[in-house]
């Protein structure tokens, strides 16, 4: 007995010693990290994207050599649709991709395809619009107040669309609109806009096997890949859609539709795409992960630098057929600070695409939580969750720790200055309560359940489909 006690004592001593050695070496490693980043573990990477202007940071990081500066040899490949892209990242065909912010979140909570995907980098703010066909616009226009010069007053609310939708319902005709993916920003923005105007966009009920999102719907929303939106609307399958650029301006150029509202007007400076990688990739290749984040941060900064001075060059790059490929003048319309609504009605929207200002690249927990609140609001999350659950999911998916390391090392190497990251020193991962929504509702990321209960249309605490 005595003997064994001695043995245990010895073991404990050894364990403590081993742990302290491990800790000191770990902290030494952490320090070494700050001084010099290691070489990337994986140098040849393949990134996927969808043909949209907000993939710009990836194209710029490639064309301006920021990836190569990090020792990364990146191939960039357009994908057919968001589903193919997500599957590509999950099965390893792609190392990372331009993603809808909802995709990593939905994958992590197991809505749709289940996989652990994280994001160290938020790609942009704003950049989407809602477009309706010429015919619907003609019917909406009579409900919209005019300015002195005869042009309609913006922002246009869905109130103007409501009588049109009611007319279709009276005639027994379904009112179809398109969005790009069930967990896309566009789905939530279109739903937000419709609901703010008193139009019900329908619920999801995944626990009952209903993933169409059309339960109780007054407007039927369905999935169409971004580049096909104008063609689908032209064919009359949908009467309108919510999509990123250049596919709203394309409708204006083709003369087939009118963008009625931008997402900037639905929620000023809303978070948009993210850069997604699998958790496994980040754990296996930590240096590669930090280095690719660094390249993307530098690209985002380049895009917004000197008051958007580089945007015309960016437009030329994006117009190449291997990137977005639309005509340069179509891309330029939104990328250079203006937006053309009805043909000839071009207005200033200086922040239509934001890539770096206003901490656009920082992966805020509060952004992730907003997406989760909308998933709950529309039934994709079928039951109530405590506030702490929202926080836990956000922490799993959004990884400001990686971002901060990347940003700090850029500052240390004098590639960027600390004034580029004004809030980096004491960032808690939450934006201040957001007040710029089209319906005036305030969003505080620390109180998701309270937020969900504020909406008149949508599931609230205790509701179940």
């Amino acid at each position: 007995m005595k003997h064994s006690w001695k043995k245990i004592h010895k073991h404990v001593c050894q364990a403590v010693l081993a742990a302290s050695v491990a800790l000191t070496s770990l902290s030494a490693m952490a320090k070494a990290d700050k001084i010099e980043l290691g070489y990337p573990e994986k140098e040849e990477l393949k990134f996927g994207f969808i043909k949209l202007t907000d993939m710009a940071p990836i194209a710029i990081a490639y064309e301006k050599g920021f990836f190569e500066d990090e020792g990364l040899y990146v191939t960039i490949e357009a994908q057919a649709n968001w589903k193919v892209l997500l599957d590509g990242v999950i099965d390893g065909r792609l190392d990372g991709a331009h993603m809808l912010a909802g995709q990593p979140i939905a994958a992590t909570i197991g809505y749709g395809t289940e996989a652990e995907i994280i994001t160290p980098f938020s790609m942009d703010l704003n950049g989407n619009g809602i477009t309706v066909s010429n015919d619907i616009w003609r019917q909406m226009k009579v409900n919209i107040p005019k300015m002195a010069d005869g042009r309609p007053v913006h922002p246009i609310k869905a109130d103007a669309l409501k009588p049109v939708v009611e007319k279709y319902a009276d005639e027994g005709k379904p009112f179809n609109m398109g969005m790009v993916f069930p967990v896309s920003t566009h789905n939530y923005e279109l739903r937000y806009w419709l609901a703010a105007g008193g139009i019900h966009p329908g619920y999801y009920a995944p626990h009952k096997g209903d993933t169409s999102g059309q339960l109780d719907a007054e407007v039927l929303l369905s999935v169409t890949p971004p580049p096909q939106m104008p063609a689908t609307m032209e064919a009359g399958t949908i009467y309108g859609y919510c999509v990123g650029e250049p596919w709203n301006q394309q409708a204006v150029f083709k003369g087939i539709g009118v963008p009625v509202v931008t997402d900037y007007e639905i929620w000023k400076d809303n978070p948009e795409k993210v850069f997604g990688i699998t958790k496994q990739f980040a754990e296996k290749y930590p240096n590669t992960t930090i280095r690719l984040t660094r390249a993307l941060i530098r690209a985002a900064k380049w895009l917004d630098e000197n008051n958007n001075a580089n945007r015309p060059e960016a437009v030329k790059i994006l117009a190449q057929s291997n990137y977005v490929g639309a005509d340069a003048e179509v891309i330029a319309n939104s990328m250079t600070g203006t937006f053309e609504y009805e043909k000839g009605d071009k207005r200033e929207v200086p922040d239509f695409n934001v890539f770096f200002r206003y901490n656009a690249t920082y992966p805020y927990y509060s952004d992730a939580i907003w997406y989760l609140t909308q998933m709950r609001r529309w039934g994709q999350i079928d039951s109530d969750k405590p506030d702490s659950w929202y926080m836990d999911v956000a922490k799993k998916v959004y990884r400001p720790d990686i971002y901060e390391k990347a940003a700090q090392s850029l500052i240390d190497e004098k590639l960027m200055s600390s004034s580029d990251f004004p809030t980096l020193a004491n960032e808690d991962g939450f934006r201040d309560p957001q007040t710029h929504f089209i319906d005036g509702i305030v969003y505080d990321g620390t109180k998701p359940n309270e937020y969900i209960n504020k909406f008149s249309i949508g599931l609230k605490a205790g509701d179940k489909i």
Binding site: Y39, E43, K51, Y73, V74, A80, Q250, S321
Partner: protein, 312 residues
């Protein structure tokens, strides 16, 4: 004599007349069709795009050279810092030009086709030789033959991603996917034609083989194979034609590199040049399909047993 000359003249002139008529009707109707991406491309637009695509190819090669120079410099710097570093040259990461896409598609179709030939011809011979084997396998062939390989594509994609796991793969997954899809559609015509050819072998030759008591393998090598070469080649020609059509569609669907992806990307771009670039690709696809068919025909004539015996 003059009648013969007239015939020759007609034989030479008629194709030209046909092509000219086609070009005339095309350019006339193209100018009438107004799409939301502008006018439908006529012959002139296609010629312009051929020039554009070639220039893009040349400028991309220039970029490639610069890429390798930068890489060399970077490698040298790293070697100076870290002498244990094993220098690695990475392939160019820029976009695939139209010419690259043509090469990719051609390599894929030939790889899939050859794989199918290696599988199908021995199987076809075995089926042709043995009635029992034939009746055992025939139901499967009949069921799978009419299935479009594109229906297999989702299954192929999922299986390849699950099975073909390697850290440093020799071939890209997309290449394997396209190749297997091509193989699947090449298989059936080749098996069927080969087995029919073997089964309808001249009974005299079989009797000769019996009298000489040839061993089974020698029987196949000396009697069966030479006699069935025309049938095998008929099967190969049919399947290569189908394979080329299917490959383009598979590339469009699965976004695998190649001419199909080129067409789909251009469709998605929706720029004012997209339609004329797609039209150019259509002609290139047609021309390559035609050349593949001619190539198989030449090979068949060259290898055919009958012709060889006749010339002797």
């Amino acid at each position: 004599m003059s009648a013969k000359l007239g015939q020759q003249l007609t034989a030479m002139l008629m194709p030209l007349v046909g092509v000219l008529c086609f070009l005339f009707i095309w350019s006339l109707s193209a100018s009438q069709i107004e799409t939301s991406l502008g006018k439908f491309p006529g012959p002139g637009a296609v010629v312009t795009q051929v020039g554009n695509l070639y220039n893009e190819h040349v400028s991309e090669r220039g970029k490639e050279e610069a890429f390798y120079q930068r890489q060399e410099k970077r490698n040298a710097e790293r070697l100076a810092k870290d002498p244990s570093y094993v220098v690695k040259v990475r392939a160019y990461t820029g976009k695939e030009t139209f010419v690259d896409q043509i090469a990719t598609s051609l390599i894929t179709v030939l790889a899939g086709f050859l794989l199918a030939a290696v599988l199908a011809i021995p199987l076809g011979i075995a089926i042709g030789l043995s009635k029992a084997l034939n009746s055992a396998i025939n139901p499967m062939i009949q069921i799978f033959k009419p299935v479009s390989p594109l229906a297999w594509l989702p299954l192929v994609t999922m299986v390849v991603s699950a099975v073909y796991v390697s850290n440093d793969p020799l071939f890209a997954k997309s290449f394997i996917n396209s190749m297997i899809t091509v193989t699947l559609c090449c298989l059936w015509p080749m098996i069927i034609q080969t087995s029919v050819g073997v089964a309808s072998l001249n009974s005299d030759w079989i009797n000769v083989s019996r009298v000489l008591r040839l061993p089974a393998l020698t029987h196949v090598r000396k009697i069966v194979l030479p006699a069935t070469i025309p049938a095998i080649f008929t099967g190969m020609r049919t399947s290569l034609g189908i394979a080329w059509m299917v490959l383009i569609a598979a590339e469009m669907l699965a976004q695998n590199p190649g001419l199909g992806k080129f067409v789909w990307d251009e469709f998605q771009n929706g720029s004012s040049q997209s339609l004329s670039r797609i039209m150019t690709a259509v002609f290139v696809i047609g021309l390559i399909g035609y050349m593949l068919d001619r190539g198989m025909l030449l090979l068949q004539r060259w290898l055919s047993w009958d012709k060889a015996s006749a010339s002797r």
